[in-house]
């Protein structure tokens, strides 16, 4: 049986070009980039090249790129590392703003900060999974030092207004300094801290403009394996001058921000993966994927009754199609599809091992019993129309069969 992969939000296959770029660095050019001999220097050159590629992609300087093990580490370093630095600088009562739909890699560090006395505000989202910029504006206080808003939500694909937020923060920061500069020298106190803007862009890289200058971003998290690169590697963009302290100690790597021998093969792979994300290629892929996604949505809505599309296609990546098949528990639909050779994911509690369904779906105002019915398709650049047609054909009998088993089914 040929297996079909519709779970690109979970991970992506390594692109052939990426793999080819990585291969020499396993057994041939295997030096430690910290070594000053020839072996080490050849490895450094490869790391430098990858750093330049990432910098070019983000429109920053290479020194502003810290390689990590992936977005989870990048998020931790950004949030906990920035607050650690600010507390060290003497900031008394830091206030952090984030959203209710972030990845746990952001939510859990924020919860940890709260336990340590830091104030955190969680912004709600509209039913389409997008925050209202006005809510953010209202939540900002004089003590706000960090705002962390994900670029794209991994579950439903909703795109957050990153550019608008960046602009808003920039303006507020300018006003903070202006007020301070113009205040009475005797009473104005210390120079105010600017608000730092962090975004977890893991799910955005494939589709959207991640220019940190245009979007006024101070900290940006990214991962290799979501962009047809290898697992176990990622990066954090840190704007020059951003207060940040290392969380992982024990060396002097990455300008003391992230100790640990560099993952050369992974880093080379990450560099090669972002080189595949030129504007032109992204545009072509976006168009192709959107066409497949829209065919899938149309086919499913036409062939299956009582389906809710939770992805607001006007405010989402072209890859996402997130459905609730009412009266069908998501995990059993997922297993049925898997047995038919189609890989998808679900926000149902039954798949997570916890008792609650996805926090993202609940934050969008979706009822628990409907959240349990969810099935997420995330398409990638290698998917074909033939695969979409197969899914449209395979799914209706699966849903019918599971609905027939449901004791709460509507009378026929």
């Amino acid at each position: 049986m040929k297996h079909i992969y519709f779970d690109h939000s979970a991970t992506t296959p390594v692109d052939g070009k990426v793999l080819a770029a990585m291969m020499p660095y396993f057994s041939k050019t295997y030096g430690n980039p910290s070594s000053i001999h020839n072996f080490g220097q050849n490895a450094v050159m490869a790391v430098d090249e990858a750093r330049e590629s990432v910098a070019k992609f983000l429109n920053c300087v290479p020194e502003e790129v810290i390689f990590t093990s992936g977005s989870t580490e990048s998020d931790n370093l950004a949030i906990r590392g920035a607050i650690k630095a600010l507390l060290k600088k003497g900031v008394k009562k830091p206030h952090v703003i984030t959203t209710t739909i972030e990845h746990p890699a952001v939510l859990e560090p924020c919860a940890e900060l709260q336990r340590g006395g830091v104030e955190v505000t969680y912004l709600k989202v509209k039913p389409n999974g997008v925050i209202a910029s006005n809510d953010l504006k209202k939540a900002i206080k004089d003590s706000t030092v960090l705002i962390s808003v994900m670029y794209v939500n991994s579950e439903v694909g909703s795109i957050q207004p990153i550019k608008e937020i960046g602009k808003m923060i920039k303006k507020i920061n300018e006003n903070r300094f202006k007020t301070w500069r113009e205040a009475d020298l005797k009473t104005r106190g210390d120079k105010p801290m600017p608000i730092l803007f962090h975004t977890d862009a893991t799910q955005a890289l494939n589709f959207l403009d991640c220019d940190v200058q245009k979007n006024n971003i101070d900290l940006l998290s990214m991962s290799g394996h979501k962009i047809y690169g290898p697992k176990g590697v990622g990066a954090l963009f840190v704007r020059t001058g951003t207060p940040l302290r290392a969380l992982q100690l024990g060396g002097h790597h990455e300008n003391n921000f992230r100790s640990g021998t560099l993952n050369v093969t992974g880093i080379v792979g990450l560099g090669a993966a972002v080189r595949e994300l030129s504007r032109k290629k992204v545009d072509v892929n976006n168009k192709k994927i959107a066409r497949l996604r829209d065919t899938l949505v149309k086919g499913i809505m036409k062939n299956i009754p009582d389906v809710v599309l939770n992805t607001d296609r006007d405010n989402a990546t072209p890859s996402h199609a997130h459905f609730s098949f009412l009266g069908v528990e998501g995990e059993s639909a997922l297993i049925s599809l898997d047995l038919a050779g189609i890989a998808v994911s679900t926000g149902s509690a039954c798949a997570s091992g916890s008792l609650k369904p996805s926090h993202v779906l609940l934050a969008m105002g979706i009822k628990q019993e409907v959240a349990h019915n969810s099935i997420r398709f995330t398409l990638g650049k290698n998917n074909t129309m033939e695969e979409i047609k197969k899914a449209i054909k395979v799914l209706p009998p699966i849903i019918r069969k599971l609905r027939k088993m449901n004791p709460l089914k509507k009378a026929e």
């Binding site: 069908v328 059993s332 149902s348 039954c350 088993m405």
Partner: protein, 125 residues
């Protein structure tokens, strides 16, 4: 693999799935907010010793693959058996017969027993 072969087989082709129109006992357990609902229908008769036996059993389940497999195997385990025997079945017996369940899914086996017990309780009312 997350699930054993037995679980997958029961999930793919559940045994005794459906409902019984003139059932002698019907019981439901779970709720849709938690994601699982199981309903069990029993048709009873007496054996030579005058004990209640489960002549026929059907189930309907909204839930994950484990919940469906538990329902299916439980109906196999109790069909043709006395009520006393059926009520003595423990969750571990179900888990064992299914070739194990992932730890997070053990509670699904409870749901089946609850539906059975509720059915019997309802009948006695």
């Amino acid at each position: 693999m997350l699930y054993s072969k037995q679980v997958i087989n029961h999930f793919k082709k559940p045994h005794n799935q459906g409902s019984i129109k003139n059932a002698d006992a019907v019981g439901e357990a779970g709720n849709p907010i938690c994601g699982d609902v199981m309903k069990m229908y029993l048709k009873l008769s007496k054996n030579k010793k005058g004990q209640d036996i489960i002549k026929e059993v059907k189930f309907e389940t909204l839930g994950c693959a484990a919940a469906i497999a538990v329902s299916s195997i439980l109906t196999d385990m109790i069909k043709g058996k006395t009520l006393d025997y059926a009520l003595k079945i423990k969750k571990d017996d179900i888990v064992k017969d299914l070739g194990g369940l992932p730890p997070a899914k053990i509670h699904c086996s409870m749901l089946g027993l609850e539906a059975l017990k509720t059915a019997v309780d309802n009948r006695n009312k």
